[in-house]
Symmetry: C2
Subunit: 468 residues, 2 copies
Amino acid sequence: MSTFVVVGGDAAGMSAASKAKRDNPDLEVVVFERGQWVSYGACGLPYYIKGEIQSLEDLVSITPEQFREEREIDLRIGHNVIDIDPDSRTVTAQSGHEALTQTYDYLLIATGAAAVTPSIDGLDLTGVYTLGSMSDGKELREYVSRARSDRNLQQPDRGPACQFLETCNGPVGIVGGGYIGVEMAEALAANGFEVHLFQRGDRILKQFSEATSEVVLEHLVDQNVAVYLGSEVEELTGTEAVEAVVTTDEHVPVEMVLVGTGVRPRTTLAEDAGIKLGDTGAIATDTYRETNVSDVYAAGDCAEARHVVTGEPVYVPLALTANRHGRAIGQTVAGTPTEGGGVAGTAAVKAFDVEAARTGLSDPEAREAGFEPLTQTIDAKSRAGYYPEGGTVRVTLTVDGPSGRVLGGSLVSEYGEGAVHRSHALVGAVTEGISVDELSKYDLAYAPPFNTTWDPVLTAAKVLSGER
Amino acid sequence: MSTFVVVGGDAAGMSAASKAKRDNPDLEVVVFERGQWVSYGACGLPYYIKGEIQSLEDLVSITPEQFREEREIDLRIGHNVIDIDPDSRTVTAQSGHEALTQTYDYLLIATGAAAVTPSIDGLDLTGVYTLGSMSDGKELREYVSRARSDRNLQQPDRGPACQFLETCNGPVGIVGGGYIGVEMAEALAANGFEVHLFQRGDRILKQFSEATSEVVLEHLVDQNVAVYLGSEVEELTGTEAVEAVVTTDEHVPVEMVLVGTGVRPRTTLAEDAGIKLGDTGAIATDTYRETNVSDVYAAGDCAEARHVVTGEPVYVPLALTANRHGRAIGQTVAGTPTEGGGVAGTAAVKAFDVEAARTGLSDPEAREAGFEPLTQTIDAKSRAGYYPEGGTVRVTLTVDGPSGRVLGGSLVSEYGEGAVHRSHALVGAVTEGISVDELSKYDLAYAPPFNTTWDPVLTAAKVLSGER
């Protein structure tokens, strides 16, 4: 009987464990998770902190008991793997003061990512948070709940943030204008906080097109979020608790700070075992997600993936890739070698009442990859002009000038007007490498409550197709 | 100077005229339209009749004056073309008692479609309507308005249809359970009518999957629409005005009947000129939409198109194809030969509070085309399970068993839960002929407010991929 050992019990790890055991019930499957939570939806944490989800348990799709009893997976929570020895094919895990050694035939490293913290003073002050784990989420919710009860808020607001009022909670600071930053701006605003968002670069959501960032920025400002662009945070000050965010130009009093400046792969364990990292700093794998060490796989937020446009390894730590690659590894170790597929760098975000998605290469990414990008942005109605509801979908499309190949896109609309789901049309185009002329001739669904006769995606393709 | 003559001033005709003139301003462009309306959104008529759109003019995207003055198109409304002579390259148009002859270098036949009426007695009774033209829409709105004012309704309702109450408007009958039938059920229900819908086959929306039809049917029934399946209408009875719909089994008293049993291409003019029809009964063309007669093109609801899966000519009269093919013909006659692209048979419909889309080949269509279809239907959450909003997306996916090629799909969800926009993911898959394994690895956008980690489309692909 073979043994499949998984290090890390979130998306990639539990997907792999479940699929391997389902496809090959004879396999012994052991999962070590150093924390108490497995298979949790970390993407839901902002909505838990906002107050729209009542219990942290709601974010867990399958409980440890279900994994153990229904799926027959030997899941050991509170077990921290401290060593991998590929020569003897063993891992050593520590639980409390005890260490145990487990042999493996196949190993998956799914150790995830850790929040990046900038190198500034004051990060150790009380009231400074990151949002990388369930326990981070728990602490933040507790902070928010205390403030909510002070203000006697029963339900999260859906309106704009509180601003310059005696009755505001906060003020609070968010360092970083990425996904976490804008989602947490919404979550904190809904709880009566005065919200200040600090972004080092000259725009928020820098993975999206400039035109998309602009719409989201304007919306955040409309929602009374104080956004500081080109703002380098120099330190957080305070005696015991944080009292101010100090930037090159500003000194902003705050009662709490969330640091959301990205994540980096957790690779120490792998590196110590002689497993190679790629240029991105994440674990390098082949298309089966196998590392340079035979029968040792890596997936999820600790590993690289191959970009569908460039074919190059990239580090894009997102939930679907972790699930998909985990599942493919499960199939492989169960006996059916399965490639996990590439990534298109697709991502989606909601911020208050706008939604945005991006996929493929942005204009600067395309240039860096050696293409000659041609980029256009169009604003189009989200529904037939005469239809009584609707808004605007802004589409930025990037193609390779000489070949016309669709390289990437970025969409933004009012929440509910379909920017995110419409991006589905571009993922296929980017993945299959079709030309913008072909895309402009796609027979996309049309009816007045859903789009104009030419969906905004087609309008963008038509415009770019005409310019080449 | 060359002359481009267009017969028919709706989607295909005006798209071609506009594009040709824009790309080659030296071209003389003459459009003959026998009615008074050009470039109108007939797809919006149900919403006009419902009362959500106030004026018929709102459905017109570009007015005749704009075509004449801004686009410099010689647009002649009220001109009925009665003859085409390819030998002398002339058309003869009648306006009132006068006839005029116009020469052409290029000709586009865009004569559209006419409502099919079943061969039953009683169609000439007062109160029997079809919905093929703007004037049909006008008459129906007038009928509805009279009933509304009788009932003192200020706004269209958004709730279910009135049923078996003294205060109901109607009852009214709808013959046909296709797009027009379900859209008009919503429109009439919103105006206080008791609505009876008669469908000859054993399900409504027969172009969609059975699983989709089932959801829409249940919803119509929930909305108090009386739906009669497998119901052959034998006659409409009444003395002057219609009084009852008589089927094999039923005698249902009604005050109005809408016949929505599909459309057929208007081809008489073309046939008389020696232009060939295809097996579908619509005008046959090549990939440039040119007919068997040199320099004579056909597009829109009178013409065939090539199916992207089978490569065979089909008759799928829908708005986007008309626009796209018209535009391509405009480019071609302006000097840049341009193919209009195929059709995937994609369509979308809203019925009360559900939305549905379909694309590609259904299971029976695939079988008929020589594939060995494998079809599965899944129900999936439309958003993360813990997210406070959301519903269910039902996806039916059809693939070719031996090759795994994605052939088609059908989706349905609550209105706003994205069945229609999510279908964008399938259009590319169907058009590019990719396998369901590939589709299951697409990096589609994910965030909790928009889907589960695996979008419902991916879940369906994953299930079918596992079954092959």
